[in-house]
């Protein structure tokens, strides 16, 4: 036997799935669609994380320039974050609804899944409406996008987050259409689960954004110092 040449050949190596005898039950295309979709979504969320991390680093770096006028000043629109708290609650409710739908779908409870799924989307739409309301307040107060970098970032970050939620709503709409076509719940469960994961992720992301957007300049300073940006 030629040792080095045949390295890696005869043993299955780590995770050698082929050691099962051939002909065991496997889907014809060779992989599990639902699982692949979940992995795909997770990879996508990794991309979104990278995107927002970079936006936030830019945010922190820019906040250290002299012309930054904090939105949390007593006379600025975010002095009271009541509206944003309300929106946050809407998004939390959306996430809870979808989680409920996910669990119901897993159990095979159609009515629960349908209700939770519908509510999840409705709360998300309400959240976007609430965010637009905040934008309108900003405009009414004269806090336009180019007036100050703090404003620019507020519009940019909430806007990009909202767009991601809108993308989620497109997927939600497509799954919803299949609910209406009375596709069997067992076939919808994995889609509902993907929606729920995405909703949870966007909720977590929003909480980070919410915290940063309503923080004081001292917090930014501390973060900037921690990141070596000062």
């Amino acid at each position: 036997m030629n040792g080095p040449l045949l390295k890696n050949t005869e043993s299955a190596g780590s995770g050698g799935r082929w050691s099962q005898p051939p002909g065991t039950s496997r889907v014809p295309e060779g992989f599990d669609r639902a699982k692949a979709a979940k992995v795909g979504l997770r990879v996508f969320l990794m991309v979104v994380t990278s995107l927002f991390l970079l936006f936030l680093l830019a945010f922190i770096a820019r906040s250290q320039m002299a012309d930054w006028q904090p939105l949390t000043d007593p006379l600025a629109p975010l002095a009271s974050a009541r509206q944003l708290w309300l929106n946050t609650i809407l998004l939390v409710l959306g996430s809870i609804s979808l989680q409920w739908a996910r669990l119901a779908a897993r159990r095979g409870a159609l009515s629960g899944a349908r209700l939770g799924f519908t509510l999840g989307g409705v709360f998300a739409i309400a959240f976007i409406g609430g965010q637009l309301w905040v934008w309108k307040q900003f405009v009414d107060w004269g806090y336009f996008v180019s007036a100050n970098p703090a404003n620019s970032f507020f519009y940019l970050l909430t806007g990009v987050h909202g767009l991601h939620l809108l993308g989620g709503l497109v997927a939600w709409g497509r799954v919803g259409a299949r609910f209406l076509r009375r596709v069997a719940l067992s076939q919808l469960a994995s889609s509902v689960e993907l929606c729920a994961i995405y909703w949870h992720y966007l909720l977590g992301l929003w909480i980070v954004l919410f915290f940063l957007l309503t923080s004081t300049p001292e917090t930014y300073q501390a973060i900037a110092a921690f990141c070596g940006l000062r």
């Binding site: 050949t9 799935r17 639902a34 970079l54 620019s152 940019l156």
Partner: protein
């Protein structure tokens, strides 16, 4: 989120008409060819632009339309197209799409519909980019790095529409690359056939896989900078724009940070180098092993080197910014990481050379390109060590030394791999071989030509010749002989440029008239050469998926008839092959 829809729809979308088969196709092989042809076409535009620039440099004033603005526009578009729209698209969208499912034993990508969208978004981004040639003011001339404030301030060509179209096109490209990358990563993770463990994947797949991860994580940085710059340009924000007096007027911007843009840009820009280089590393490993009839030396080391390079590539970005001004400790840090990344890279070079050592080297066209890659990459990499050191970089920064360095290391070297890989996989894609004589002619002109172009540029750089200048009259420190050298470089560059027509002709001619290749003309062991049909049909594998029993590098195996063992051959089958061979030999030795 389109994959939600895909969770249980019909699996393989058997194409029914010409339209769904070749245009609106969800088959990874068709998408790969669409990606490749688009990339090559747009690359030809960039090649012509470089020729025009070279004529201006070598023979100043001989092109009537070439003024300083046109020169900057040609330079910007050349750089951006080559790096993003040609190299990235061709390696990931072209080779990634074609090879990943075939090499891991899948029927297609995991999300074929998203894969198709990826191509159409890519095509859209290319069209948006090219449309900037036809808008008032023309394309942007900001340099491929698009540094603000100059990129969006009056005085730079293309600030009317060119820069907007460039940024929009980049954003669309990033969406396309993300959709593609999701597919490549998920397919490798989820759709490998039975027996195809991660450490049995050919290095091509490893290189493309890691590059896709880098692309997924790094492109957002470009996206962020593009979006924020669009805000600055269109909405008057001041993310990157400081207070500027332009044309005697105080602009409305204030307080923005151009350095912030540079950090974001290079946080994308440096991994981008490896997004291009890692697939090239992977593909060339397979070419070398196959055509030297020898297993790749240190397979696991090669994989870990790919991973290490991928990780390290995220912590070296500021070595592009030594002259931008930063904390001296940062310079120290980034110089150190830059030199550290040379370690896994050098490992790979040693392993390629050790693979060749005592190999049964077949000087086929793909092998010639692979060997040329090793030396070119070595030269380009070594000058990288110079430039990675702050004190050496500062005097050499923005000179032709840098131009020579990056063209060698991430221009010529990956392109050589692309050529080699096309000559190598063309028989699988079309069932025909490319013409050998034309291929060798193309190789020698390209290889020797690129050396004649870029080697002298190092000297020009050491003379202090600055890059990105439209003309060098009245610069006393540049001797007259530099002009003669420039004229020489131009003549060679045009020759090499024209010589690519040989390649294109060979490509087109061989599709119809090439010698029939059979299923496995190179005697390669990896999975894509074991398909039941050549070219592989829709679904790739017939009724049963292949089962993998070994790695992809069993070459020159003694005691059997052919000198390689395909990945699909099991231990028992190998034993039978041995016995048959031994019996045949015994029979022939009998008097």
């Amino acid at each position: 989120m389109a994959y939600v829809e895909h969770a249980e729809t019909e699996v393989l979308h058997e194409p029914k008409s010409f339209f769904t088969r070749y245009i609106w196709s969800q088959d990874h092989k068709v998408i790969a060819i669409q990606y490749s042809l688009t990339a090559i076409s747009v690359g030809l535009v960039a090649l012509v632009l470089s020729g025009l620039m070279r004529i201006q440099i070598g023979f100043p004033g001989s092109l009537e339309f070439m003024d300083a603005s046109t020169y900057y526009q040609a330079m910007t578009m050349h750089g951006m197209i080559m790096v993003i729209y040609l190299l990235t698209a061709l390696f990931l969208g072209g080779f990634g799409n074609y090879l990943i499912p075939l090499m891991v034993g899948a029927r297609d990508m995991v999300f074929p519909y998203v894969n198709m969208l990826s191509f159409w978004f890519y095509l859209l981004s290319v069209l948006v980019l090219l449309s900037s040639f036809f808008v008032p003011g023309g394309p942007t001339g900001a340099g491929w790095t698009l540094y603000p404030p100059q990129s969006i301030t009056q005085g730079t060509p293309g600030t009317e529409w060119g820069i907007v179209l460039m940024l929009v096109s980049l954003a669309i490209f990033i969406v396309a690359a993300t959709m593609g990358g999701l597919n490549y990563v998920t397919t490798v993770l989820q759709a490998r056939t039975r027996g195809m463990t991660l450490f049995r994947m050919p290095l091509s797949v490893w290189g493309i896989f890691m590059a896709s991860i880098l692309a997924l994580l790094a492109f957002p940085a470009l996206f962020v900078s593009a979006v924020m710059m669009l805000f600055d340009k269109l909405l008057g924000t001041s993310f990157f724009m400081p207070a500027v007096i332009s044309m005697g007027q105080q602009l409305a911007h204030q307080g923005g940070s151009p350095i912030l843009f540079q950090h974001l840009f290079w946080f994308f820009g440096h991994p981008e180098v490896y997004i291009v280089a890692l697939p090239a590393f992977g593909l060339v490993s397979d070419l070398i092993s196959t055509h030297a009839r020898k297993n790749i030396f240190g397979y696991r080391m090669m994989v870990w080197a790919i991973i290490a390079i991928g990780v390290l590539s995220f912590v070296v970005w500021a070595h592009h910014m030594y002259v931008s001004g930063m904390n001296p400790y940062f310079g120290f840090f980034f110089a150190a990481t830059t030199l550290i990344i040379a370690v896994p890279t050098a490992l790979k070079v040693y392993n390629w050379v050790l693979t060749l050592w005592h190999g049964d080297i077949h000087l086929t066209v793909p092998m010639l390109f692979a060997l040329a890659f090793i030396v070119t990459f070595l030269v380009g990499g070594l000058t990288g060590l110079f430039l990675g050191n702050v004190i050496v970089d500062i005097p050499l920064s923005d000179t032709y030394f840098v131009v020579a360095h990056f063209h060698m290391v991430m221009g010529v070297a990956p392109i050589l791999v692309i050529f080699g890989a096309i000559y190598h996989w063309f028989p699988k894609i079309t069932g025909r071989l490319m013409n050998d004589t034309l291929g060798k002619l193309h190789f020698w002109i390209t290889f020797l030509g690129t050396y004649c172009i870029y080697f002298p540029m190092h000297y020009l750089g050491l003379l202090g010749m600055p890059r990105r200048y439209y003309a060098w009259q009245n610069y006393d420190f540049i001797p007259q002989s530099a002009q003669q050298l420039n004229a020489f470089i131009t003549v060679v560059a045009l020759t090499v440029g024209v010589c690519q027509l040989l390649f294109l002709f060979n490509l087109a001619w061989s599709v119809f008239k090439g010698k029939p290749a059979g299923p496995n003309p190179w005697g390669a062991a990896s999975l894509e050469w074991q398909t039941p049909d050549t070219p592989p049909v829709h679904g790739n594998w017939g009724p049963e998926l292949p089962v993998v029993h070994r790695w992809a590098y069993d070459y020159s195996v003694p005691g059997i008839e052919q000198d390689f063992v395909p990945q699909t051959v099991s231990a028992q089958e190998l034993e039978q092959m041995r016995q048959r061979c031994a019996e045949a030999r015994a029979a022939s030795e009998r008097p």
